[in-house]
Amino acid sequence: MKDFIAPPQTELRPPSDVMRLSRMGAMFPTRLSFLRAITRDLAAHGTPPETTRWDMCDQGYGRAVFTLTFHGHTYSLVAISKPLDDDKRSDRVIATAWDAAFVLFDGIPNDDDLARIETQAPLQEAGRFSEKDLVLSRANKSVRLWAHVVEALQNGQQPDADFINKIGYLMRTTAVYGNGKFGIADRTIFSDRPGLSMSFAAEMLTVWLIRHFTHALVEHVGGGKLDPTLKRHLGIGNATGLGMAPFLVSHPVLLNNWMMVRETALARVRAIEAVTPAQADHLQSLKTRAAGHLDQWNVPAEEHQQRIEALRKSWTEFDLGDLAAPRPLDALWQRAQSQSAEFQELLLSLMLEPFGDLIDGLTECLTDPFGHPFANSGTTADLVTRLETDFAWATSPDYDAADNCAQFWYVSEEKLEPRLGQRHEEPGADRESPLDIARRIKALAADLPGAPEPIAAFLTRHPEHMMAVERLQIAASHPYSEIQDNLIAHDCRPIDMLRAKLSLFGATKFDPKSTLWTRITLAQGAPLAEDLNNPDAQDWWCPVL
């Protein structure tokens, strides 16, 4: 067995830089994002989806099943499409009806399975599911684009490319549930299977298959085939709100692992001593393509549109420099440090893109197989040291000051929708969710004894500090485990947390609607089923139509 010799790398960016909301909120997808990784894996170890059931009326209502194999296992997307009145269509978690409901089924569903899913899936959170149901999701049509594409196909024409580019998807998922919710399978049931061990692999596979379904459905209703170039540019939209943000706080080991993969990839690429002329050309052409992608990224929210325009300008003006010089990527990276965070993060994505051979293997670390059991050993002296060296960001603020505790996270009784409240203006803070990590850490610091005390004894006296102690223990071996910002401050923007997680998924075309939620596109430009045999189809960073 060959020894694995890790490639050289520069120092990693410090967590004090990387784990700030302002930078996390500037992240872009990379070739190590989950959707990129899974489409590569599908091409290498999967079969294209086959339509194993198509029970749809002419208007596109009924049910469909698409089946594929992936690393030798069989999976099926079951899609249930029902008529929906326009005034019932809502992207909110509190909606109760949708255009389509989906289950990713473990195997090929028989008639009984299908009948069960047909009843339960449209109920979504109100339904019950089994361990054969791996993922549960639902989606709503982009009504205008849907109608346009159907009409064009019915007239024997192709839809308008500009309109396709403007919207970017035929349907928008408004939730993709995994890991045991509502009785579906725990991810541990399949997470030791090749292909599905990566975080959110099952969910990403589901999204890719839902996209496939939307293409098939619109072609069915329109009675014609879409041009593959246009079809490829139709991803799946998503409306993402606060529900996603707490995950980053409640999964510190996973967050660390995801960020560590990204930072390690950057460090490896920066350490490259020389690039070939072909690689240099590739970088230049990717930079140009990214400029085209930025040109096609327009959003209604003015502040965000201005950020995009500023980025377009600085991107165009920035020169990649002499790529024939030694360590050209590190030189380019250093020069970019005077640019905005968003520029730097886009540059990071560019720098990673040509070097799959060097970094793609890191995707194996995009998971947490071990967890982090609480260590009931050591003394409070360890905690004191850790607080001093790594947690000034948490212990500095005064959390009694109104601005520093202005917001609180909570779960609404209504459909269990996560919300962010204003502590000084509305009730509910007595039921606050425990996401105020920084404040808890400072509270721990205030109660630590002068002389070292065993952890168990300290917690017996102060059981309320156990969570903060756990976080400090995790941080000792997981440098990127904490978002180093005050999540209850008046200026905490959940959108920054959403963008971080969504870029790790592989989302593009961020379209923030407020500081609380955003629309995005997933799998725009991704390989189609028919593309799985074509290696060029994996080159879908910064898609341009």
Binding site: R128, K181, G183, E413, R431, P434, V469, W517
Partner: protein, 127 residues
Amino acid sequence: MPGPVTHSINEIEALATKAARGSGAHAAQAAAFGKATAKHLAAKRPEQDLHAALAALPEGPIQTYAFAPDSTTALGQSYTDDTPLPQRVTPSPALLTDLADRAHNTYVPSTEESRTGGAGAGLTDND
């Protein structure tokens, strides 16, 4: 669906965690109780231990077993048990009702303001 309603491990852990927090457990202790509940059910230990521990909050074993479990008790064993979990567990309706009622204390009643101020829907965070 025919037969008893089985549950995933994750959803029982999440529900029991909220039940504990909704009854006054500290956050980390509530999470540890969530994990122990799944193990307790998987090992078919008495559900009464779970009811009693929740009823004792904000005092009692839930606040301490997370860092100092008493392995002479059945509940304590569930905290330290490292037997692999089954795919499903089947809590009784009575336990589910107790857990749901207690978990309800972690939800904030909705008002028109909070609904209109709330955000759009999204990909879930896997509790």
